[in-house]
């Protein structure tokens, strides 16, 4: 005991620090944690409770057993194809948004007056909202719209132009509303990558393409996956433009329309809940798949060293 007592006496300060650190750990409670309570309550009341309520409701159908709603969904020709219809819209829209935004954002990685103009222009569709975009598109892309009139007046294309009230109308609107979101998100990821890395690569012989492939793309991959997920979830829950710009009775009868009809036309909240749960499940599946791909990539900080 004597040696340890002597060393403790020799280093009173270190010993004291050690004591206070264990004391905090033993107590195991940091009052600052209480700051989490409002947010936790908020999540509980506005997210967890409605979700659980809907989940339970979906297992309490108007008639039949607990799984009757799900059974009905997958056997009804009016319901289960909506998953495919929605995917057919959401997937291409997401892919276009992410992979068109990527090269443009890459070109704009250096600050310039252009970037400010472009960013300002792109924020506009985000603030407008889908309904206003649909309104505008109806007058612009419609059979008697400006685009059609211009193409015919210029004799560039004389056939009938059908870009509204069908699949293409909805796809275009998903791109218009989703592209700025994807672009701004990717731009912020790209500008977060230290440009000195690309310069280092260039002194080592990497041209612009190689810099993108070996430096930017691997460092962006986790961000791209995240952007893909957010853009996909946004596109998958398409509703207003599928009604206003699409053919809601046929080719663009997306899953949210099916849920809406069940809830507000058939007043079957239980079935509507089941459809909403399935919608969430499909989204979750895709998101989980894409995020699991992130495990293949480097996920650490994107700086070049201590700065």
């Amino acid at each position: 005991m004597a040696p340890s007592g002597a060393s403790a006496a020799a280093k009173p300060q270190a010993w004291g620090e050690h004591l206070s650190a264990t004391a905090v750990r033993r107590a195991g409670f940091d009052p600052a944690l209480l700051l989490v309570v409002p947010a936790a309550l908020f999540m509980l009341l506005l997210f967890v409770y409605p979700f659980v309520y809907g989940l339970v409701l979906s297992f309490e159908p108007k008639e039949g057993g607990a799984l009757a709603n799900y059974h009905h969904f997958f056997t009804s020709n009016r319901l289960w194809p909506t998953i495919g219809t929605t995917l057919k819209l959401a997937m291409p829209a997401t892919l276009i948004n992410v992979f068109v935004a990527l090269p443009i954002a890459y070109r704009m990685r250096q600050p310039s007056p252009w970037r400010r103009t472009m960013t300002a222009l792109l924020v506009v569709p985000i603030t407008l909202g889908t309904v206003l975009i649909a309104e505008g598109m109806l007058t612009y892309f419609g059979p008697k719209g400006w685009l059609s009139q211009f193409l015919q007046a210029a004799h560039l294309y004389d056939g009938a132009i059908r870009l509204t009230h069908n699949y293409w109308g909805v796809l275009i609107s998903l791109v218009v509303s989703g592209f700025p979101f994807a672009f701004l998100l990717i731009l912020s990821y790209i500008t977060g990558i230290d440009p000195v890395l690309a310069r280092a690569a260039s002194t080592l012989g990497a041209d612009s393409r190689a810099q993108f492939r070996y430096i930017y793309l691997p460092l962006l991959a986790p961000g791209l996956a995240m952007c893909f997920c957010l853009a996909f979830v946004q596109a998958f829950s398409v509703f207003p433009s599928a009604v206003l710009l699409g053919a809601p009775a046929g080719p663009t009868r997306v899953i949210s329309i099916a849920a809406y009809e069940a809830a507000f036309e058939q007043y079957d909240y239980s079935l509507a809940s089941a459809i909403a749960m399935l919608m969430g499940f499909v989204q979750l599946l895709i998101v989980a798949f894409v995020l699991s791909l992130r495990g293949w990539f480097y996920k650490g900080p994107v700086g070049g060293g201590k700065g």
Binding site: A200, G305, K306
Partner: protein
């Protein structure tokens, strides 16, 4: 891309930047410099003096606003950095965070299309040179700052560049590591014999590493010379201040003969060596603290009386701040221990008191 050269010639290299409110300014004006094969050049100056701008212009990371850069007879200032093939070491290392040490070091070889079977042995050899053998599979984030900088050096030299550029490579390291890495850089330069241009704001680094030093201020070269020349014979007052001539005193000129100038004012009477033609009634004298010595009491030539005002203990010696009765302050490095308030006499060797013309304000 060449593997070696005889001369890198910079002629009138100028870089202008757009300043605030459309006031363009020259970050670098009319830099003329010839770097010979195997030479170690240090660009030295305070921050904002244009030394990093010069390095980036040579690397190709900044376009020139004027002038030319030639590697022997080949004009290179119009080539993009990836076609110049110079190795560069950055201040913050700029290691690729998603690649292992081996991949980082091998990157330049891969870009040059070297087969993978030849990359591995060359990477191993380069890592051995910077004493990092066995760390191949770590990510940069798992290494210490000093190790990261050595990986960056290995990455720059493995491509066997004709010229190695270093942009303040030691300024992010702590004092001890800085000294170690400095000797390492010196050793690597001796072993490889590659021409190196090294940017620093630390005169000790420049003096200890370089064959020639280029001292810069406000984008203009002030002096180009060997470490001995720049240390002992600063071309002007800016260089003198930067090279550690901490005592710069303005005094009236009493007389001048054979390059010896006598300056006198009240309690100070000094004679020194004229370094530049004088104009006006006053001149500036520059003296290093370590070249002033303590003297016996009495009124001899170049002896100044004063009182110790402040003492900084420095191990083998102390840095004293001495105030003369008229209030002139002198920094003196002297062996032994001193107490503040003591009266002392100091002697300034006339050949080490450098006299420059008065500064124009």
């Amino acid at each position: 891309m060449k593997h070696d050269f005889n001369e890198l010639r910079l002629e009138g290299v100028t870089r202008r930047f757009a300043g605030v409110g459309g006031n363009a300014f020259n970050a670098l004006s009319e830099l003329n410099l010839t770097v010979r094969r195997g030479e170690f050049i240090a660009l030295l100056g305070p921050s904002g003096c244009g030394k990093s701008t010069a390095l980036n212009c040579i690397a190709g990371l900044l376009a020139l606003s004027g002038g030319t850069i030639r590697l022997d007879d080949m004009r290179i200032d119009t080539l993009p950095p990836e076609r110049r093939g110079f190795g560069m070491v950055f201040q913050n290392y700029a290691l690729f965070p998603h690649m292992s040490v081996a991949k980082n070091v091998g990157f330049g070889l891969k870009m040059r299309g070297v087969p993978a079977s030849q990359i591995a042995p060359r990477v191993t050899q380069a890592l051995k040179l910077v004493q990092l053998a066995g760390q191949e599979h770590k990510l940069p984030g798992q290494l210490s700052g000093g190790q990261q900088q050595r990986v960056a050096i290995a990455r720059a030299i493995v491509i066997e560049p004709p010229l190695i550029l270093m942009d303040e490579p030691l300024s992010n390291l702590d004092a001890k590591l800085r000294l170690e890495t400095r000797s390492e850089i010196r050793r690597i330069h001796r072993e490889l014999g590659r021409a190196t241009i090294y940017v620093t704001h630390d005169q000790d680094e420049a003096l200890s590493l370089a064959d020639r030093i280029v001292v810069m201020k406000d984008g203009v070269v002030q002096q180009v010379g060997t470490p001995e020349e720049v240390y002992a014979e600063p071309a002007n007052l800016h260089v003198a201040r930067f090279m550690g001539y901490r005592n710069v005193i303005e005094l009236p000129v009493e007389g001048e003969r054979d390059g010896r100038v006598t300056l006198a004012s009240g309690d100070i009477r000094l004679s020194g060596v004229r370094k530049l033609p004088l104009s006006g009634t006053h001149a500036m004298v520059a003296i290093r603290p370590e070249e002033i010595s303590l003297a016996a009491p009495g009124a001899h030539a170049n002896v100044i009386a004063g009182r110790v005002d402040n003492v900084e203990y420095g191990g083998r010696d102390s840095l004293l701040e001495i105030v003369t009765p008229n209030g002139t302050r002198l920094h003196v490095r002297a062996p032994g221990r001193f107490d503040a308030g003591a009266s002392v006499f100091v002697h300034v060797p006339p050949e080490r008191a450098l006299v420059y013309p008065q500064e124009v304000h």
